[in-house]
Amino acid sequence: MDGCSFAVPAGKISGLIGPNGSGKTTTFNMLTGIIPPDDGQVIYRGEDLAGLKPYEVFARGITRTFQITRVFREMTVLENMLSVTGLSVPDEVARSRAEELIAFVNLGHLRAEYGGRLSYGQQKLLEFARALMTDPDLILLDEPAAGVNRTLLQHLLDQIHRLQERGKTIVIVEHDMNVIMNHCEWIFVMDYGVKIAEGPPAAIQGSERVLDAYFGRRRV
């Protein structure tokens, strides 16, 4: 990444798109403390989060899912949910919240199954539910639609909208343009580590610069 600046609108669903290798997941990794940025700041609610460890970022109400699912394979779905920290509540309360979320994503019947035995789409749902355990305010979703069938995807998107209605801010990295254009209010476009465009879906759809980046008429 190279000299990028984003201002994510609060309380809205934003999209982050760009060709492969443009730095989208790296951006997420830097925001969540997995890779420290060499330079620059990450301001959230007036605080600079750059250089904090992932669990410190998490403690401030920011969660994420991963492009290639990272569910805990040798642990059950329920255990995956309970591994989340930041809940200073008694076990029963945590458990009931976990069960609620598991039901939310329609994985109730699999609550005692190993994470590693779930199908890819189910793992994505588990990651999604897991990220919601602490009722975070900023949720970063890395390719939530990849590998998920239509019905499940629609269900997921419905949940995402419901979250947004409750005041959450959501950023989605995606390659599926239907998802991005139909569900995001604001879109950032990256290419080669640089932000090349941002704006509402209509503006992005018509942008030549974006088309260039994706279809490579010119390489800068």
């Binding site: 669990y55 969660t63 990272r70 040798e74 642990m75 995956n80 591994s83 989340v84």
Partner: protein, 312 residues
């Protein structure tokens, strides 16, 4: 787990504990000793399992903590005239401190490199014990004043075992344990979910160091003579690892079953085949590691006899 299941398990533990408490009255000296060693191995295997099975940081050097506890007891009793019980506490504290100091740098290493570093640490501790003879009498070893300690040490070991089982059980059925498992499965993802991996690993490491240290102290008082090779015996580390693996790393019952089974088999073969049994032991490790890495409990879970996961 439902409340009644917990109660059932505790009742089981109580029954076993009571049976073991009354056993010395009816059993021969040999069997008493056998039970004491079995209980010790249960303690060792369960402790090892906390850092290696639950947290996934396989330690090949845990015998260092056992040795520290043994030396703490021996030095304080023989050279300073302490009563043996408080020395167990000292051993635990020293081992815990070493675990923190050692663990902080070493737990940063990944899987097998952690294992190798721990192996080096254990061997290093053995060398230090040999060299620092002003404290440890070096290669000469330490002799404790002779006495019949078999009853006291038996009950001490029994108490230790019950304590260890309770702690391991508590860890295994709590969110703390779930998070240790998460660290084992995917440390990066666990951190993204708020788990301060360094702190949790260190806690697990210290916890896993304390009980072997106490066991070492009790052993020293039982055997009444220790020296570096007998105490920093690499076989002990292997036994811990093998018992946990055989029973099922990462479960609570696994190490218990593994310890009892393996030690019994070991005693039986040693009695009947004094020299060959060591080779059989080595081969056994190879076979388990190669064919049954998830252990007996792993098998039971796969067959559906036991429920998956520890928290239900």
């Amino acid at each position: 787990m439902k409340q009644h299941e917990h109660i059932r398990n505790l009742a089981l533990l109580a029954v076993v504990g009571l049976a073991l408490a009354f056993a010395p009255g009816v059993l021969s000296v040999y069997l008493r000793s056998f039970l004491l060693f079995t209980m010790m191995y249960v303690v060792l295997a369960l402790s090892w399992n906390i850092i290696s099975g639950f947290t996934g940081y396989t330690s090949f050097g845990h015998v260092a903590f056992y040795g520290i506890g043994a030396y703490a007891c021996a030095i304080l009793v023989a050279d300073y005239g302490w009563h043996w019980l408080p020395t167990l506490g000292v051993g635990a504290v020293v081992a815990g401190t070493v675990a923190v100091v050692l663990g902080y740098p070493v737990l940063r290493l990944k899987g097998p490199y952690f294992a190798i570093a721990m192996l080096g640490a254990a061997e290093g501790t053995r060398v230090i014990a040999t060299v620092w003879d002003s404290l440890t009498h070096g290669g000469l070893g330490i002799s404790l004043p002779s006495a019949d300690t078999s009853f006291e040490t038996y009950y001490a070991m029994l108490t230790l075992m019950v304590l260890t089982v309770l702690v391991a059980y508590r860890v295994g059925h709590s969110r703390f344990g779930v998070r240790l498992n998460a660290i084992r499965e995917d440390e990066v993802a666990a951190e993204a979910l708020g788990v301060n991996a360094t702190r949790y690993k260190l806690a697990a490491f210290v916890l896993s160091a304390i009980f072997p240290a106490v066991a070492g102290g009790i052993q020293a008082y039982k055997v009444l003579y220790i020296d570096p090779p007998s105490v920093f015996f690499v076989q002990i580390t292997i036994a811990m690892a093998l018992m946990s693996m055989l029973g099922g790393k990462g479960t609570v019952i696994g190490p218990i079953v593994g310890a009892v089974l393996l030690y019994t088999v070991q005693e039986l073969t040693w009695v009947n085949f004094p020299t060959a049994h060591l080779i059989a032991y080595g081969l056994f490790i190879v076979v388990i590691a190669r064919f049954m890495p998830r252990g007996l409990m792993g098998l039971a879970i796969d067959r559906g006899w036991v429920r998956k996961g520890m928290v239900h």
